[in-house]
Amino acid sequence: MSYQKTADIIIKISKKTQDDLIEWETTERAGKYQVSFSNYSIRIFKSISNETPGDDDYIIQVINGYGETVEEVSDVDIKSLLPDAYKIMKNTYELARRKAMGVDEALDSILDELDE
């Protein structure tokens, strides 16, 4: 099965997350974040790797308008198509976490008050 379209989505999501153009939010699970579009949602999370113990796999899920998971891929699944998949998805995950938790807003607010 080809993951080319999923790989394209991962690259675009990564770029938009870096540019702070998409709104990641927390979910019912710690360490799982989601962003929604008009008819689909994307979720990102990490899980313990089966291939390299002690390391994490990064996973992306595509959820349709009925709340059903229609696609789930890990960085391992797409590394043949996207050699930097691990690096890209790890970076996206970290940025999504910061955005969803409001880390930057909190730090900016503290810095502002410390500067007063």
């Binding site: 927390t26 019912e28 699970r29 710690a30 579009f37 008009s38 949602s41 308008g65 009925y66």
Partner: protein, 189 residues
């Protein structure tokens, strides 16, 4: 004027031959044809004017009916979405009480309601659709999390605080959608 008085006198006296001579000598037939033509043209113009006015009135009426229909649709959506928000508050209460048995059914019901509400996409802005889609995804994932919890209680990592935190986040966003719909009611009338 004299011609009209003469003509009237011949008509009253029933003097048809004199009336006929009078009409022929003064070319009254030609004039009356022209006058009749002018009256016909004016009449036709008035008819067109009346039809245009009627069409405009009909268009205004149609537009008013469409605006009322749109408002009714918005009010209906507002009511349905408000019910969803109320039920989400109830879910938080059940989760706090760890009354989990009823939850999967409630999650599924709310998800179905939101899918139906989302069907009225003409009412919503893109931002609203994203919020509703996000809530559908969240409800579906929460339902699955509760089901997994029932299947395997020992290794379950289900946390009520996370479930409720997520529900609260979506309630806040749905309330923003409700306000936006309220502001749209009556804007087309």
């Amino acid at each position: 004027m004299t011609l009209i008085i003469k003509a009237l006198r011949y008509i009253l006296d029933l003097n048809v031959s004199m009336l006929s001579i009078l009409i022929q000598e003064n070319h009254i037939g030609d004039y009356s044809s022209i006058i009749a033509l002018i009256i016909t043209v004016i009449g036709f113009g008035i008819t067109i004017l009346q039809l245009t006015k009627t069409k405009k009135a009909s268009e205004i009426a149609t537009s008013a009916v469409n605006a009322i229909r749109d408002d009714l649709k918005k009010i209906d959506t507002l009511t349905s979405l408000s019910s969803v928000v109320t039920e989400m508050e109830e879910i938080k209460h059940l989760q706090r009480e760890k009354n989990l048995l009823k939850l999967p059914e409630k999650y599924a019901k709310l998800r179905t309601s939101l899918i139906t509400i989302k069907g009225f996409s003409s009412i919503f802005a893109e931002e609203d659709l994203k919020i509703i889609q996000g809530t559908i995804t969240q409800l579906s994932a929460s339902e699955e999390a509760i089901d997994i919890h029932f299947e395997n209680t020992i290794s379950s990592t289900l946390k009520v605080s996370k479930l409720n935190g997520s529900i609260s986040n979506h309630i806040d966003k749905l309330n923003e959608v409700l306000i936006r719909i309220k502001l749209k009611i009556g804007e087309n009338s």
